[in-house]
Symmetry: C2
Subunit: 352 residues, 2 copies
């Protein structure tokens, strides 16, 4: 008795009575050049023998492994959903992600990438000949030099949530402008004219904070009689409550506050409580991110919910499109994915 040998292409070819090269071409979908009957015979033989292409071999031939490296930690539910979106979109195209990251859950918030280890990760991926790469923001920055290499090697890279001026990768981010405009419109429609924005962490690796504040200010100023004052926390965002107290205690107390993150919104809640201000009667508050706790705040926080599944799927699509599709050879770009304003109970009409 023979051992149950994995069938080879030549077995399929023999069974279908064609040459190996004919079988190869037909099974890759190049049916046009062969007789209909031949194609049927080959397809049938492959199926009957249970033949599966050895992707390692076709990978070294074609330069494509149908595999994408993903450097994104499953840091919180947002990122897990981004990963999920990537995974799903790739699977549809019969691609698979190879996901790598550093550290563990407890050490991710800082995610100061250990550059040594990061380069090792990239190399591990490249050694397996991934067709493309998707990374999260701080990586895109840390490995800027390597991105140039990859670009030269024709390995497309997409960075998520970081609008980079890096000329070597595509990007996909939340459409901060659209989302933030919706917030501004909502507050203006409620009659608010003295509005504040609390921002934080406007660092090089986290461009969203700056973008949100900027777009929000612009949107508010579209309304001639509206004012927008912006307050920035310290770089690590640890003095949120103090800043909020100062802001709310000032003579020019705003009637509405937009926080670039739900975390800062929570600080505003705390400051408001300590000053005896009630939300939304005295003060409307809008956050951003719709973090787990937002819905159970008192009152439930109005906030902006991003679309991580869509972001991930779009990133995957960009890689695929660069590889074979419509994006091949096109200039690099940055896709913006809309977000949704979730109205809960932290916003109300401005007092006359």
């Amino acid at each position: 008795m023979e051992p149950p040998r994995v069938p080879r292409l030549k077995d399929v070819a023999a069974a279908a009575n064609v040459s190996v090269s004919a079988a190869s071409k037909i099974l890759r979908g190049d049916q046009s050049r062969f007789g209909e009957d031949t194609c049927r015979r080959v397809a049938e033989a492959a199926k009957r023998l249970g033949w599966r292409r050895n992707l390692l071999v076709s990978g070294i031939q074609t330069g494509r492994t149908q595999t994408v490296g993903v450097m994104i930690p499953p840091y919180d539910s947002f990122w897990v959903n981004v990963l999920s979106g990537i995974h799903r979109r790739l699977a549809e195209a019969d691609y698979l992600p190879i996901t790598v990251w550093q550290g563990d859950l407890d050490h991710m918030p800082h995610f100061e990438a250990d550059e040594q280890e990061g380069v090792r990760q990239i190399n591990r991926l490249l050694d397996r000949r991934v067709d493309g790469l998707i990374m999260w923001p701080s990586f895109g920055l840390a490995y800027e030099d390597h991105l140039a290499d990859l670009h030269e090697k024709n390995v497309p890279v997409v960075v998520i949530d970081h609008s980079s001026d890096n000329p070597f990768c595509d990007a996909v981010t939340t459409n901060e402008t659209q989302a933030t405009k919706a917030v501004a419109k909502h507050l203006l429609d409620l009659g608010h004219r003295r509005i504040a924005c609390i921002s934080t962490r406007e660092s090089k690796s986290q461009t969203w904070a700056l973008e949100r504040r900027d777009a929000f200010e612009n949107a508010v100023h579209q309304q001639p009689d509206a004012q927008c004052m912006s307050w920035r926390l310290n770089p690590i965002g640890s003095n949120g409550v103090e800043v909020a107290r100062e802001l709310l205690g000032s003579e020019l107390r705003p009637s509405a506050v937009f926080a670039v993150t739900d975390h800062e919104a929570a600080c505003v809640y705390e400051a408001a409580a300590s000053l005896g201000l009630s939300i939304p009667a005295d003060l409307s508050v809008v956050g951003f991110a719709d973090l787990d706790f937002a819905v159970s705040m008192a009152p439930p926080l109005s906030t902006v919910r991003q679309r991580p599944l869509e972001i991930g799927a779009h990133a995957a699509s960009m890689v695929l499109d660069r590889l074979n599709g419509p994006l091949a050879g096109e200039p690099l770009g940055c896709a913006k994915i809309d977000a949704d304003l979730i109205l809960r109970e932290s916003t109300g009409p401005a007092r006359r």
Copy 2:
């Protein structure tokens, strides 16, 4: 000007003035058969040229890709940490996980595997010649037939958190017996003699519930004058509060309850509150899992914390050890990872 061609092994060999086969052997670590000087020259040349082995090619030669398929969704922080443990251990050995899953975060709790899609996933993994496979419990069950195939193909499979009697895979689970004994000992030491266990979901794919209850009962019964009564919720565990109320309202009200999960412990809290019983004065409660909310319950819940990082790392080690190491050819087994009893404020001495 030449394009920046990726260096081949023959380039390294030429630079070091040896044959390709010599370079190959030396770079794989088979230094013994060559002169010290030769080895140094080759290593140096490889480094200087920036040569990296093409893992696709060596994969088809050696049958090893240094890649492990992982079918585990990042469902919650426990599983994310399991993934993290797997990832880290594999990376140490210069292996990489290819992680695949079905559905998205919102649909994972049910995770009724779509078997069609699951088989497609396994095939995608196998097409890329993963050296082994790690899966989560329900998959191990759903693909029992395929596991036999894989076993025959010498692809080691490790299933996590499911003590299977399946003869085709290794397993690693929490050491339910050790953990549960610690709970029993703690309650007995506090003087409790009338003790209850609330369990749920003792299904085929979730063997832990049954194991916990069983081991707990045994441990309590080691104490001659102690009694243990067990209550089971309905299969989907939705009647926890009712069952707990019944249990606590009965004449034989226990002074301590062990819940096989923090979720059931929360039900006990609710039932106790509604009956005017105070925890821990009237009733001690211990949970299992140390879910996010356990620490912020009132009073903070004493519970068992598993070691997901260690579980993941051990699973990865088992695969690696089967592949080359001490486990090669050994009979299949099930590793048990200890868990830790976290004492908080929900347990106190039994009333006299």
